[in-house]
Amino acid sequence: MSTRKINDQLDLMKGTLDLLVLQTLAGGRAHGHAIACSIERRSDEVLQIGHGSLYPALQRLLKLGLITAEDGISENNRKARFYRLTTRGRKYLFAEASKWQRFSNAIARILVPVVEESS
C-alpha cells in the first residue's frame, strides 16, 4: 500500500481515532498495544490499516498536551511506554464527546424510523 493511500484514509479517520484513543485512556493508563486492541474491539474501521497508524495519533495527542507518556512495565513484564490522559485531555474529551453526543442525538431524531431496528 502506498504512503499516499494511507494518508487519505488517515485524514478521514484522524478525528475519530484521536477521540477513540482519548476515550480508551479515560479508563486509566495504557500502553500502545492495549490501546490498539481496545480500539480494535470498539471499531472495525479505524485501525483497519494497521496498528502502526496509532502511533502518529499518539504523537499528535502528546504534542497537543492532551496525553502524557511514561515508562513502565507491562502485564507480561516488558518495558513499555504508558500513556495517560491529562486534565486538559479529559476536558477536551468531555467537550468533544458531548458535541458528538449532541450531533448524534440530532441525527438520531432525524433518522428515527430507519434506525429503529438496530439497537
Binding site: L10, H33, G50
Partner: protein
C-alpha cells in the same frame, strides 16, 4: 537534531514492544512462533511509515530531511567529480554573466543618481531638428531658459548649461580643459552642495568665479584644500575658484573629466556671446507636477514668447535627468543583458541534460528507495535539494566571477561611460541571482523526477529495454538554436565593422594629420585670429615634406567641429519646412588638397572672395535632395527667412552661387552616419559682419597631408605654431587614420563582448551535444549490439548516432535562424551595410555549428561503432 534521534529510537523501541506483545498473544492462541511474528508485523503495517508520520508530527521534519538531503547530496556529488565540475562550470558561467550584467544595469540605469529627489529632475530639449543656427540639434537658447524660469509654474528650478573645451591655466600650467558655462541656478536646481567652499549661486551671474570638479581639483590644483580663492586663467581673464564639487558628482556628459564651471555670461537681452541656441536645459519639477503638465507648461511659454519664428514652432521634449546621463548606453546594456540571458538558457539546458543522464544512472537507487517506502515527494525533494545545492554553488562561483568582471569594468571604463564609477554588486542583485539559481535547480529536477516517477511506478524494473526520451534532444536543439542566435548576431557585428572600415570616406585619409588650434584668448579680435590662421596655413603648406594643407571648420573625426545647420532657400524650388543643410567653411585649396572628388563644375579659386558674390560647393546628397534633375551649377542659395526674422537673425543675407558638386564625405565621427546635404563655403568669404564670424574664427582646424612619419610631421607643425603663432594653443594633434580606428572602438568592444558570449555558448552547446549523444550510446549499447549481430555494419552504427546528432542540430538551426532573424531586427540600429537577415552570416554560422556538432558527435559515434555484438549477446 532537536533530540529527534533519541525520540526516534524510543519510538522504534515502543513499536518493537508492541509487535512482541502481539506476537506473544498470537503464540498464546496457538500459532507457531514464526507465523505469529509475521502476523503481528502484518497487523502493525509499515513501521517506517508510522515512524515518519510520527516524526512529521514532531515538526521540523522537513528541516531535518533537508539537512540530511544536503549531506547526502554533497556526498553523492563528490563521488562524481567530473559531472559536478562540468555542471558547476556551466552554471557559474551562465549565472556569472547574468549577475554581472544585472549588477551593471542596476548600478547604471536603475539606481537613482546620487542627488536629492532625482526623480524630479528633467532634461528639456528641442524635439525636432531645430531650424536656424544651433550648437547641437537639441539645444535651446539662454533667453528661452530665462523665459522658462520666469513664466512657468511647474518647475522649482530651471537651469541651463553648455560645454566647451578651452585652454585653461591653473596651478599646473596651461592645458586644454573642458568647461561648462552654467546659469546661476544650475547647482541649486541639481541640489548638489560643495565639498569645499561654495557653489555658483543666484548672485554670481556677473562674477568672475569658478567652481571645479573634484577631478580638476585633484589633477590641476594639486588637491590643495586651500585651493579656494586660487585663480585660474581662461582667455586672458582671471577666475577665482570659489568651490570644489564632491567626488561622485559628474555633470552630464562629463564622466571622469576635470571640469571647471563658470557662470554663463549673458548680455542684457539674456543671450550668450554666440547668440545661438547652445544650452541644454535641466529643470526640477515642483512637488506634484507631472512630466506631462510640465512639458505642456514649457511648450506654451515657447509658443507665446519665442524669440524667432523657429522658436515659436519648436516642439519640446522632456525626459528624466537619469536618461540624459545614461540614455546613450541604455540600449547596448540591455542588448548585453539579453545575450547573457541567452547564455544562461543554454547553460540551464546543459544542466537539465546532465541531470537527466545522472538520474538515469541512479535509477536502481531510486527504485530501491521507492520500494522501501519513500514517497515520490520524498525522492523529488532529494533531487531538488541536490540540484538547488549545485545551482547555489554555481551561483556563488558565478557571483565571484561577476565581482571580478564588474570591478574590471569599473576600472576599465569608469572615466569613459557615465556612472561606471558607481558600479557595484548590490545585495539585491545577489538575491536575484540566488533566486534564479534556486529556480534553475528546481527546473532542472522536474524532468529527471518525472523519469523517476515513471520508472518507480512501473511494476518491474525494466532494465533491458531502450528508453527513449525526446526531451534531451529538444534541449540540445534549443541550445543549438540559441547559440545560432548569438553567433549570427556577432557575425552581423563583424560584417558591420567590415563595411564601416570600407566606407567610402570621400577623401583620402592617408598621411593626414589633423591639428586644431585655438587662440589662448577667446576674446581675441576675430579678424586677427583669421589672419593668424591663414598665415599658418601658408606656412604649413610650405613645410618640407608636406604635400598639402587645408583648413576646414568640419574635419571628419575631429572633436572640434563647427558646422552651421541652416534652413536654406534653393532658387527655383519652393521652400518647404525642414529644407536645410550643413555649412562648412574651408580653405580655398580644399578640393585639391583633401582629395575629395569634384563631380561637376570647379573648386574655389583664389580670386573668388574679391569677386563680390559668394561661391559655394555642394555635395551629392544636397543635389539629390534639392536639385535632382536640375543643372546644379549656377543655382543660387540663400538662408531662409522665416516670417518676422530680421537680418540679424540670419547668418548672412548675401546669396551663394553653386559653382561645383563634390562627392559625399564622411561627416562627424560616425562612419555609419547617413550623408547629410552639405554646402562648402570658402572661409575667406564669410562676411565679417556675420555673427558667425566670431564663432568660426574661434578655432582653426587643419588637415595636413605628408608622406613623413607622424612624429616628424607633429614636431614640424608644433615648431611652426610656437614660432609664428605663440598665442595659439594646440587643442589636438592626431593622425587621421588613428582617429578613424578610434571611432570604431565602441563597436569593437560590443563585438568582442557579443562574440565572447557566442564562443562560450558554442562550447556549452558542444558539451551538451556530446553529453546527450554519449549518454544515448550508453543506453543503446544493447540495441546497437543486437543490430550488429543481425548484420548491421559498424558504419551504420556510427550513422545511427550521427543521424541523431544531425536531427538535433537541424531542428536547432531551424529555430535558431528564426531567432537570429528576430535578434537581427532587434539590433538593426547597430548594424551598417548589412541586413538583419544576412545570407552570408547565416550560412557561415550554420557551417560553423555543423562542424562543431560533428566534432562533438565524433567520439560517441566511434564508441557506437566499437560496440562488440558478442559482448551484448553474452550479456543477454
Amino acid at each position: 537534531m532537536f533530540g529527534f534521534k533519541n525520540r526516534r529510537k524510543q519510538l522504534l523501541q515502543e513499536i518493537e514492544t508492541h509487535i512482541e506483545i502481539e506476537t506473544q498473544q498470537n503464540i498464546e492462541t496457538g500459532m507457531p512462533p514464526e507465523q505469529a511474528r509475521y502476523a503481528a508485523k502484518r497487523k502493525f503495517g509499515n513501521v517506517l511509515v508510522a515512524v515518519e508520520q510520527s516524526r512529521s508530527v514532531w515538526g521540523a521534519l522537513w528541516l531535518e530531511n533537508l539537512l540530511r538531503d544536503i549531506r547526502y547530496a554533497a556526498r553523492s556529488l563528490s563521488a562524481v567529480p567530473g559531472y559536478t565540475a562540468t555542471l558547476l562550470c556551466t552554471l557559474a558561467l551562465g549565472l556569472g554573466c547574468v549577475t554581472a550584467m544585472l549588477a551593471i544595469i542596476q548600478s547604471v540605469l536603475l539606481l537613482p543618481v546620487d542627488l536629492p529627489h532625482p526623480g524630479r529632475l528633467v532634461h528639456i530639449y528641442a524635439e525636432d531638428e531645430p531650424e536656424g543656427t544651433s550648437a547641437s540639434p537639441h539645444a535651446l537658447s539662454y533667453e528661452a531658459i530665462d523665459a522658462l524660469r520666469r513664466e512657468t509654474s511647474s518647475f522649482a528650478g530651471v537651469s541651463g548649461y553648455n560645454t566647451m573645451v578651452l585652454p585653461v591655466q591653473a596651478a599646473d600650467g596651461v592645458r586644454v580643459n573642458p568647461l561648462m558655462e552654467v546659469t546661476p541656478g544650475f547647482f541649486q536646481t541639481l541640489g548638489v552642495s560643495a565639498r569645499f567652499g561654495r557653489l555658483i549661486g543666484p548672485d554670481d551671474g556677473k562674477a568672475q568665479v569658478a567652481v571645479v570638479s573634484e577631478e580638476f581639483w585633484r589633477e590641476r590644483l594639486n588637491g590643495d584644500p586651500k585651493a579656494i580663492g586660487a585663480p585660474i586663467t581662461i582667455s586672458g581673464k582671471l577666475w577665482t575658484v570659489i568651490g570644489i564639487l564632491p567626488a561622485g558628482f559628474h555633470a552630464p556628459g562629463m564622466t571622469g573629466a576635470p571640469v571647471a564651471f563658470l557662470p554663463v555670461s549673458t548680455d542684457s537681452l539674456g543671450q550668450d556671446v554666440f547668440k545661438i541656441e547652445s544650452a541644454a536645459v535641466i529643470a526640477r519639477l515642483k512637488d506634484g507636477a507631472s512630466m506631462q503638465q510640465a512639458r505642456a507648461d514649457a511648450q506654451s511659454v515657447f509658443a507665446h514668447s519665442g524669440h524667432t519664428y523657429a522658436e515659436q514652432h519648436r516642439q519640446l521634449g522632456m525626459r528624466s535627468y537619469q536618461e540624459l546621463v545614461t540614455g546613450d548606453i541604455q540600449r547596448p546594456l540591455f542588448a548585453l543583458l539579453g545575450a547573457s540571458l541567452v547564455l544562461l538558457l543554454i547553460a540551464s539546458a546543459n544542466a537539465v541534460n546532465l541531470e537527466i543522464g545522472r538520474t538515469a544512472s541512479r535509477m536502481p537507487e531510486m527504485s530501491v528507495r521507492s520500494a522501501l517506502g519513500a514517497g515520490f515527494g520524498r525522492l523529488m525533494q532529494q533531487l531538488v535539494t541536490e540540484n538547488v545545492l549545485v545551482s547555489l554553488l554555481g551561483a556563488a562561483l558565478g557571483g565571484g566571477l561577476a565581482i571580478v568582471a564588474v570591478s574590471a569594468a569599473r576600472h576599465a571604463y569608469a572615466g569613459k561611460y557615465p556612472r561606471f564609477d558607481e558600479l557595484a554588486i548590490h545585495p539585491l542583485v545577489l538575491c536575484a541571482a540566488c533566486i534564479l539559481a534556486v529556480l534553475l535547480g528546481i527546473f532542472a529536477s522536474v524532468a529527471p523526477a518525472l523519469n523517476v516517477r515513471r520508472h518507480t511506478m512501473g511494476r518491474l524494473a525494466v532494465r533491458s529495454t531502450t528508453r527513449k526520451s525526446r526531451l534531451p534532444g529538444l534541449l540540445v536543439a534549443a541550445q543549438v538554436g540559441l547559440t545560432c542566435v548569438l553567433l549570427v548576431t556577432s557575425g552581423l557585428f563583424v560584417r558591420t565593422l567590415r563595411s564601416l572600415e570600407n566606407v567610402e570616406l570621400g577623401f583620402d585619409p592617408r598621411g593626414i594629420t589633423t591639428l586644431v588650434l585655438m587662440p589662448e584668448n577667446q576674446r581675441q579680435d576675430p579678424q586677427l585670429s583669421r589672419d593668424i590662421e591663414t598665415r599658418l596655413l601658408h606656412r604649413f603648406e610650405a613645410l618640407p615634406g608636406v604635400q598639402s594643407a587645408t583648413m576646414q571648420s568640419e574635419i571628419p573625426f575631429s572633436n572640434y567641429n563647427m558646422s552651421l545647420h541652416g534652413t536654406t532657400d534653393v532658387a527655383g524650388r519652393p521652400y518647404k519646412k525642414g529644407d536645410s543643410a550643413y555649412y562648412s567653411f574651408v580653405s580655398t585649396n580644399f578640393v585639391k588638397a583633401s582629395g575629395i572628388r569634384l563631380l561637376k563644375g570647379r573648386g574655389f579659386l583664389p580670386g573668388d572672395e574679391s569677386s563680390g558674390g559668394i561661391v559655394a560647393l555642394v555635395n551629392e546628397a544636397f543635389v539629390r535632395i534639392y536639385l535632382s534633375g536640375r543643372q546644379p551649377i549656377g543655382v543660387t542659395l540663400r538662408f531662409h527667412r522665416d516670417p518676422g526674422d530680421t537680418d540679424a537673425d540670419l547668418p548672412f543675407t548675401q546669396p551663394m552661387t553653386v559653382v561645383g558638386v563634390v562627392q559625399n564625405e564622411v561627416q562627424g565621427a560616425d562612419l555609419g552616419a547617413p550623408y547629410e546635404p552639405m554646402v562648402y563655403l570658402d572661409h575667406l568669404a564669410l562676411p565679417e559682419t556675420s555673427f558667425l564670424s566670431a564663432v568660426f574664427s574661434m578655432s582653426g582646424q587643419y588637415a595636413v597631408r605628408s608622406a613623413l612619419p607622424e612624429t616628424a610631421v607633429a614636431s614640424e607643425l608644433r615648431a611652426v605654431v610656437k614660432q609664428d603663432a605663440p598665442t595659439m594653443v594646440e587643442m589636438s594633434l592626431n593622425p587621421m587614420e588613428e582617429q578613424i580606428s578610434q571611432s570604431l572602438g565602441q563597436r569593437r568592444l560590443a563585438l568582442r563582448l557579443v562574440a565572447g558570449f557566442g564562443i562560450v555558448a558554442l562550447i556549452l552547446s558542444a558539451v551538451g551535444i556530446y553529453g546527450v549523444l554519449a549518454y544515448s550510446v550508453t543506453l543503446r549499447r544493447r540495441e546497437i549490439g543486437i543490430r550488429m549481430a543481425l548484420g548491421s555494419s559498424r558504419g551504420k552504427a556510427a550513422g545511427l548516432v550521427a543521424s541523431q546528432a544531425g536531427r538535433m542540430v537541424l531542428v536547432g538551426l531551424a529555430f535558431g535562424i528564426t531567432g537570429a532573424w528576430a535578434a537581427g531586427h532587434a539590433v538593426r540600429s547597430f548594424l551598417f551595410g548589412v541586413k538583419a537577415l544576412d545570407a552570408v552570416t547565416l550560412s557561415a554560422t550554420a557551417a560553423l555549428l555543423l562542424l562543431v556538432s560533428a566534432a562533438a558527435a565524433f567520439v560517441p559515434a566511434m564508441r557506437a561503432a566499437r560496440v562488440d555484438p558478442l559482448e551484448t549477446l553474452r550479456a543477454e
